[in-house]
Symmetry: C2
Subunit: 341 residues, 2 copies
């Protein structure tokens, strides 16, 4: 985010406050917001540009996503911290994992929903694709704490998984850590939540209430869209604390990537994923909006304006894909036992 860009945005949009719905949708799109496409084909191209997904891989990926035996203890799965019933997150400030250890940098679990649309994964953006991201928490000592070799041994010891990998990847499939985590990523690519906001951008003028339209206008006008743009309304790396210091910067030691850049969180389903910020220090969405105003934009967002923006956020609550809870294949005598140490 550059300040010049920001100022340009603000000029572009400030005069459009009272425009019609069509104008507003056009303005939103011009300002950098994008809809999840309505057409299944267009969406498929976006989430699976290299045509890697098959039903068998996605279904297997779903099982692995809910699979606690991918953790050292055998009781923590991807879904523990990225709960698909809770907006794709866990609702706690800093993630807690193996041995009840809080994230050592006091980092909050970001939502997995719509992560396929992010340019960057992790708060410091160290991975680009969901497939790469999946390798991190599984191995991280305070999360799932499972070395690659343990993950491979567990899955290869479970006959049901071996046959499903063969079905998905062919008879000679090698069930290694990369294939296992990649398959989880394939499932995650399907976790897309179209919302009333998308319907609005896609032409349904009545998809938003008047109050939500007003909130969207304020959102654009204030310049929030400079960082919260694209399909994800976020997901790209941006400088942090551009205008002022974040008021809870002292909680945890996270400083962003080597250039101080931080991944902008998506605003999709944001009403369902409190607490906010990389360290989960703010529980109120209106307070988070105001803090962003001062930290990033160098402006004071009033309570009234913040509430209007939050009203718009309701329209970003997406329709979640229906997930049938998977039946996981049973362990064998060879399956490495749970280890709580």
């Amino acid at each position: 985010m550059k300040l010049t860009h920001l100022i340009g945005m603000s000029i572009l949009t400030s005069s459009l406050l009272m425009g019609t719905s069509t104008n507003l949708a056009e303005t939103a799109i011009k300002s950098g917001l994008k809809a999840i496409p309505e057409s299944k084909e267009a969406l498929k191209k976006l989430i699976d540009p290299n045509s890697l997904l098959t039903d068998a891989k996605v279904e297997l990926g779903k099982k692995l996503y809910f699979e606690p035996r991918l953790s050292k203890s055998g009781i923590i799965s991807c879904n523990t911290c990225h709960n698909l019933g809770m907006g794709g997150a866990d609702g706690v400030a800093a993630a807690v994992g193996h041995k009840w250890t809080a994230n050592p940098h006091h980092l909050n679990s970001p939502t997995v929903y719509n992560a396929v649309f992010f340019d960057a994964q992790f708060w410091d953006g160290r991975a680009h694709q969901v497939e790469d991201q999946a390798q991190g928490p599984m191995q991280a000592e305070p999360e799932m704490a499972a070395p690659k070799s343990l993950v491979e041994e567990r899955i290869n010891s479970i006959p049901g998984y071996v046959s499903e990998f063969k079905e998905a990847y062919g008879k000679d499939a090698k069930i290694d850590f990369e294939t296992i985590t990649k398959t989880i990523g394939y499932f995650e690519r399907t976790l897309v939540t179209p919302s009333r906001f998308d319907d609005f951008l896609n032409g349904k003028q009545n998809a938003l209430t008047d109050a939500e339209k007003e909130g969207l206008t304020v959102f654009i006008d204030k310049g929030c869209v400079s960082c919260h743009s694209g399909i994800a309304l976020g997901g790209s790396m941006q400088p942090f604390q551009v205008a002022a210091k974040y008021k809870f910067a002292n909680i945890g030691d996270f400083k962003g990537d080597k250039n101080g850049m931080v991944k902008t969180p998506t605003l999709r389903n944001i009403t369902e994923t409190a607490p906010y910020f990389h360290n989960g220090a703010i529980w109120s969405l209106a307070e988070a909006v105001k803090e962003m105003g001062s930290t990033q934009l160098g402006i004071k967002i009033s309570d009234e304006e913040a509430n209007k923006i939050v009203t718009f956020f309701n329209a970003l609550e997406g329709r979640k894909p229906e997930i049938v809870y998977p039946q996981l294949p049973k362990s064998s005598d060879k399956t490495p036992k749970p280890d709580f140490n």
Copy 2:
């Protein structure tokens, strides 16, 4: 279980080893085994004798079953230890809960599937109905660690739950601890898993393989059915260590109820719910069968016989109800925050 009863059983059945399938099904029923009824009406009467279940209550109960905010930390749900994708249990020896604390008595999480058919809940049988059982782990310090008041406060602070309780119980519904846990029990009553064994008892002679029929015959002939009887093939209180001391009795301090009685685990889905015994000390099902022979029946079950019995157990793997993973209503500003201490 009385020894005289046991001996009678053995005489009754030993001559039937090579009988026809019809004979075998009849023998099984005469010896005390019961099928899950095929007829929906008959099943409904069994699981809901007082006609308390409604779709709204069961659906709400499902949400609560998967609801981590019922725990003090906000990250442990009923499903954490009674995982519906893992045979209704957790696959670890002693349950681990709040603050990574193992069950202080080293007790293993029993499956929730078919628990509605049990005479007794908990290893010491201190509850009779699933509704009563649900009150225990939620409050237990090493499990979900949530005092009643916290559970009530959390649920009452979530508008989505308040309206669902009103829908389920009427406008003046009081959302107290009893109602919350009762509703979870209503959902659990639906967690019934008919298997090929039921099909066999219900008249489908080819539902079992010949090897499974042979295993069933050994199972009856050895007298296992003295305790593992009824629809649940278990679930009632029985004396433990009748004939000899359990070889891992030194793991944990559990001694049964005040009379030394212990709840017999169900054998339904037993192939999916290792490890075995109240303290989860035995991982091999064949070993568990042999140990039961010496501990309870005072007989030596050979490796070959144990393997035959285990082969029969495959027929007890049930068809699980399809569970659509629930979308949980979002917290409000008033929702008590997660507490990891």
